[in-house]
Amino acid sequence: MTFSPELEARFSKMLESYPPGRQRSAVVPMLIYAQDEVGSITSELVAEVAKRCGVTPLQVEEVVGYYSMLHRKPMGKYHVQVCTNISCLLVGGEELYEHTCKKLGLGNKEVTADGQFSIEEVECMGACSWAPAIQINYDFHHHVTPEKLDQLLDALKKKAN
């Protein structure tokens, strides 16, 4: 299994960043960067990461099951993550999450038929003072109101088709 030249470059740099013989350390970052490119954690990917980091596939599987950002099935092209944790909750995070679900007709971790959008209710994402907050893929959006969210999603929908 090979990745894009950029990612391959990142990985070889990554593997060198740990002390000699400690390549296992690259397992978590390698998985999440690879997921961004592959779309999800496939068993082929697990085997590949195991090979590159010198561990057994089982040791990689243990890691995959543990971290909540690693998904075994692909999320949408735009993965909308709404924080409903305490600071967001207090200023409408839960309502915002419900609104998003209705808007996209999805439940937690569900993906639209066209694979464009997916939703996830997530934990505190470190935007508490600018709540309610969401992340679309890795992009933060602060002080999000239902209206602002609609605009965001509509803009993305346009981009999609």
Partner: protein, 440 residues
């Protein structure tokens, strides 16, 4: 160019580590050097490792990650003469609900963190540092990588830094979604490519940390305070705060305030004044009901308990904690049951599952509380909820169990009336509704 500020600063702030926030290109090395950046590096070069550690001790700096452990003391625990390589590890996992400061420190002033790591390196004879950044902060990983690259390019990292004869390398390392990986030893396991399961202590990281080598692990804010401490001297930094509570700290105000935001305030700054003066008071003239002073794991304070100095010792006296500086403000309309439901759903979701009381306790609590909040509770649930909290407190492997227990116990103790009001299916604040939320 500088990103638009997340929130307007407050005139009441004492800007020491956030002084570059808002300056154009504050993240560039040149800006940093132009605003007495790296002065502390040269000063530290003139000092012996012992002197550096003593300076940090004198500053009264205490860990900003949550535990508030005296940093100088921690630095002195690292066996600097140990032949093994030693590592500096920055905890940038920032996952405690209510906390969003490390993000700013890395975004606006990455080189301050780098300088802090360099000085720590000199103090404990370490030449490699890792910044463990939560996976959600991908843009910050790239941002730090750029800053690090710039530092290398301009000879501020790598071999023989600026001809000083000191070598230091820094790498970023991405997490992938796990609050528990903020716990220092779980972080180290995660850094080593494993599940984020906490380790038995002792040995403590200072003695056997990353790859079983001596490791100085601290929070972003803690390291970011080091340059100022060395530059202006420990005593000067200490003087900013209250006795045994040196310096300033980044307070993340969130919830029901007019001006939520992250503010740098001296330790000991009155909590009530933070709410009313720094953060502009409660919106729509509502009254204050409660404050979680240091992130969701800290025992909640009722409005009438908030008129106290914001430092480690005063909060301990109030049976709460300064934690990670995440100050969550709740107005009179807040449903405390609903708030607790959400907090517990978080800890249940984040429990690593290693030990029984946390794994089973948080989930049991989550189930009761969700049912209770939906109006399907019975009177005995209220005591049960408190009991389960007590059943976890002090009995779990790591502090996550306590982090879930402390809010639970304090919410039930201090807002029992609200729990009772839910028994007839109604919520005093009209917020009780079937949670359509995933129960993870």
């Amino acid at each position: 160019m500088a990103r638009k500020l997340f929130n307007e600063p407050s005139p009441l702030e004492v800007k020491v580590i956030s002084k570059r926030f808002g300056i154009d290109n504050s993240e560039s090395l040149d800006t940093y050097l132009g605003t007495d950046g790296m002065k502390a590096f040269w000063k530290a070069r003139e000092m012996s490792p012992e002197q550096i550690v003593d300076e940090v001790k004198a500053s009264g700096l205490r860990g900003r990650g949550g535990a508030g452990f005296p940093s100088g003391l921690k630095w002195s625990f690292v066996p600097r003469t140990n032949p093994k390589p030693k590592y500096i590890v920055v905890n940038a996992d920032e996952s405690e609900p209510g906390t969003c400061k490390d993000r700013l420190l890395m975004e606006y002033d990455p080189h301050q963190l780098i300088e802090g790591m360099l000085i720590a390196g000199m103090a404990v004879d370490s030449h490699k540092g890792y910044i463990y950044i939560r996976g959600e902060y991908r843009y910050l990983i790239d941002h730090m990588d750029r800053a690090i690259a710039e530092a290398y390019a301009k000879g501020w990292l790598g071999k023989n830094i600026q001809g000083s004869g000191f070598d230091f390398d820094i790498y970023t390392h991405s997490g992938a979604g796990a609050y528990e990986c903020g716990e220092e030893t779980a972080l180290l396991d995660s850094l080593e490519g494993k599940r984020g399961i906490p380790r038995l202590k002792p040995p403590f990281p200072a003695v056997a940390g990353a790859w079983a080598c001596p490791t100085l692990l601290s929070n972003v804010e803690t390291f970011s305070a080091v340059p100022a401490i060395i530059r202006d001297g420990g005593p000067a930094y200490a003087a900013l705060g209250t006795p045994k509570n040196g310096g300033t700290r980044m307070v993340c105000v969130s919830g029901h305030v007019n001006k939520p935001g992250v503010y740098e305030l001296p330790l000991g700054f009155n909590l009530l004044r933070v709410v009313n003066e720094v953060a502009g008071g409660i919106p729509n003239g509502k009254k204050l009901k409660a404050v979680i002073p240091g992130g969701s794991s800290c025992p909640v304070l009722k409005a009438d308990e908030c008129d106290i100095p914001g430092d480690y010792d005063s909060l301990a006296k109030a049976k709460s904690m300064l934690g990670s500086g995440g100050m969550v403000v709740m107005d009179e309309d807040t449903c405390m049951v609903r708030a607790l439901v959400r907090i517990i759903r978080f800890y249940a979701h984040e429990s690593c599952g290693w030990c029984i009381p946390c794994r089973e306790g948080t989930t049991w609590l989550r189930k009761i509380l969700m049912r209770f909040h939906d109006g399907r509770g019975v009177r005995s649930d209220i005591d049960l909820i408190g009991d389960l909290g007590k059943g976890m407190l002090g009995r779990t492997f790591c502090a996550l169990g306590d982090a879930a227990a402390m809010p639970t116990i304090s919410f039930v103790e201090k807002f029992r009336d609200e729990f009772e009001a839910h028994l007839d299916g109604s919520c005093p604040h009209g917020k009780a509704h079937e949670l359509v939320l995933s129960s993870h």
